[in-house]
C-alpha cells in the first residue's frame, strides 16, 4: 500500500471510531462529572471531579427500578420469541429448497418497512381489547416483530455455514432429524444463536417508540426515561443516557466475535 493509501485508511478508521466513541465518551463524562462538567464549556477532554452520585441518585428515582424490570422482561421475552420463531425459520431457509424461498427472504425484511407510527393506533386498540396493553408481554410482541427478520436471516446464514454432511452423518449413525439437530447442529450453532439472541435483546432494550405508545404505567426503561428526563436537569439526563447505553455496549462487546463471524469478517 502506498503512503497516501495508508494515510487514507488510517484517517478513515480514526474518523469512524471517533464518530461512535466521542459521543459515548462525552455522555460518560457528563454522567460522572456532575453538574459542573455537564455545563462546562468548552468541554474538557478529561473528566473532572468524577463521582457516582448522579448515577446513584438517578437509580433511586421513583419508578426507575420498576421500569428497568419491565425492560428486562420485555427484552428477555423478545429474545426468547425471536429465537424460538426465527431459528426454525432460518433452519428451513438454510436446509430446504421450497417455492418462494427467495421471496420469503425479502418479505421477512419488509416487516421493517412498515412505519410503526401507522401501526400504533390499530395496535393500541387491539392490545386494549386483548388485555396486552400496558404489559411487558405486549411490548415484547411488537419488539419480536422488529427483531424477527434479523433473527431469521442471521440464523439462516448460521445454519448454512454448518455442512449438511454433519447432519447426514448423524442420520446414518442412528439419529432422527430432531436428534441430529439436538446433538450436532445446535452445539455447533450455539455461539451464533447466542449472538443473535443478544442482538434481539439489544433491539428491544433500545426501542422507544412502540414502548412509549403501548404502555402507560408499566413503562420500559427507555420509554420511562424519555418522559422523566425531559423534565430533569441536564446532568441527570447524561446519567440516564449512560445507563441506557451500557447494557447494549456490554452485550455487543461480549458477542463481538460471533457478530464478526456472522457478517463474514474473520476475526483472529
Amino acid at each position: 500500500m502506498t503512503r497516501s493509501g495508508r494515510f487514507l485508511l488510517w484517517s478513515g478508521i480514526v474518523a469512524l471510531c471517533a464518530w461512535v466513541l466521542v459521543p459515548i465518551y462525552l455522555i460518560g463524562v457528563g454522567a460522572f462529572g456532575g453538574r459542573a462538567a455537564a455545563f462546562r464549556w468548552p468541554k474538557g477532554i478529561l473528566p473532572v471531579n468524577t463521582s457516582l452520585d448522579q448515577i446513584l441518585v438517578f437509580l433511586r428515582i421513583e419508578g426507575v427500578a420498576n421500569a428497568a424490570m419491565n425492560s428486562l422482561i420485555a427484552a428477555g421475552l423478545t429474545m426468547l420469541f425471536s429465537l424460538l420463531l426465527g431459528a426454525p425459520a432460518g433452519y428451513a431457509l438454510a436446509r430446504f429448497s421450497f417455492r418462494g424461498a427467495d421471496a420469503f427472504r425479502l418479505m421477512v425484511l419488509l416487516t421493517r418497512a412498515f412505519p410503526l407510527a401507522i401501526l400504533a393506533l390499530p395496535l393500541t386498540v387491539i392490545f386494549i381489547k386483548t388485555g396486552l396493553y400496558d404489559t411487558p408481554l405486549g411490548v415484547s410482541l411488537v419488539h419480536t416483530a422488529l427483531a424477527l427478520p434479523f433473527a431469521t436471516l442471521v440464523t439462516a446464514g448460521l445454519f448454512q455455514g454448518i455442512p449438511r454432511e454433519f447432519e447426514e452423518a448423524a442420520w446414518v449413525f442412528g439419529c432422527t432429524r430432531f436428534q441430529a439437530i439436538r446433538k450436532v447442529v445446535l452445539p455447533l450453532a450455539l455461539p451464533g444463536l447466542a449472538a443473535s439472541a443478544v442482538f434481539a435483546f439489544v433491539i428491544s432494550w433500545n426501542e422507544v417508540f412502540a414502548a412509549s405508545v403501548l404502555t402507560v404505567r408499566e413503562r420500559t426503561l427507555t420509554a420511562y426515561l424519555l418522559t422523566v428526563l425531559s423534565e430533569s436537569p441536564i446532568h441527570y439526563r447524561f446519567a440516564g443516557g449512560f445507563i441506557l447505553i451500557v447494557p447494549s455496549i456490554v452485550f455487543i462487546f461480549a458477542v463481538r466475535r460471533y457478530l464478526f463471524a456472522l457478517w463474514g469478517v474473520t476475526s483472529r
Binding site: E165, E168, V172, F173, G174, C175, V184
Partner: protein
Amino acid sequence: MAGIVIDRIEKTFGTAKALDAVSLTVADGEFVALLGPSGCGKTTLLRIIAGLESRSGGRVLIGDRDVSDLRPADRGLAMVFQNYAVFPHMTVFENVAFGLRTKNAPEEKVRRNVMRAAELLHIEPYLERYPAKLSGGQRQRVAVARALAVEPAVLLMDEPLSNLDALLRLEMRADLKRVLQEAGTTTVYVTHDQTEAMGLADRIAVMHSGRIVQCDTPMTVYAAPATTFVGGFVGSPPMNFVPIRNEDGRARLDGFEATAPGTGELLLGFRGEDVRIDAPERGLSFAVAVAEPMGSHVLLTGTIADKLVRVVAPTGIRVAAGERIGIVPDPERVVWMSPETGAALPRIIS
C-alpha cells in the same frame, strides 16, 4: 454382514434422468467400486442406498430386507463422507463412539468397539483430541473408524480419499484395503479415480450417464472393456482405439493384419503396453509426436490413421518426435468394438 440388491433404481431430477433403471447385486463381504466421471450418477446411487436421497423408482434390499422406505438410521449401514463430516465439537473418542451411543450401547461395548476401531486405523494417540487439531488424513481415519465401530452390515464410502494429497492417498489406500479385508464388511465405494477402484475393489461397476455399463473384476474391466467409454476411462494411459476395415474376416491397416469379428468398419482397441515396436513398414504406422521418458518406461504420444494413440515403450528406445515407427498390438489382447454403438464385439477364438 449382508449383501445388497439394487433393483431397477431410477432417479429423475426434473426431466433429467440421473439414474436409469440401475441394477446391481453386491455379495456379502464383497467390495464393489462405483467408478465413473462426475455427473454419472454414482454418488446419487450411493446416497439412495444410504437413504439420504429419495428415489423415483425401484427397490433397495440390504440382507434380503427391503429398506427402500426406511430412514437412514434403520438401514443398518455406515457411511464415510468425502469431506469426512467428523463432528468438530466432539473428541475423536466421542466421534468414533457416536453411532454406538445413539443406539444406547452399553458403556463397556462402546469402549471395546472404539478401541478396536482406533487400533485398526492407528488413531489411539488422538482419542482425546478435537478434530480441529488433526490433519486431513487423520480426520479421514477417524471417519472410517466411526463407520467401523458400529459394526455395520454395509459400509458406504463416498470418494473418501479425494480430499487427501497424493502421497497420503496412496498410504491411506493401502491401509483401507488392509482394514476392510480384516473387517470383511460389504462395501460400496464411490470414486472417479480408476487406480483406486482397480486397487481396492473385488468388482468395479463402471457408470456412465446414469447407467452401469460394465460390472466385472478389475482385470476384466481393464483387459476387456464392454464399451469404448470403459476402455477410455479405465487405465492410464487409456485404451487406444483405431478405425480399421474388416474384409472377409481379416482386418487390415498399414502393415497390420488380424482375424476380426463382424464386417466393414471396426474399431481396434489395444492397451498402450500390449504392443511390440517394430520397423515402420510392419504393423500400424505410428507418427510419434512426443516421447516422454517416465523412468520405468517411455510414453509415446502420436497418431495412427489420424487418431490419437499412446503407447508404452521400454526405456532405452531411441525415438524422436516426427519419426514413424511400426506398432504391432498383441493379437491375444486386442478388443474389437462397433464404431456405431461403441460396444465390444464378441472375440473370435481362433
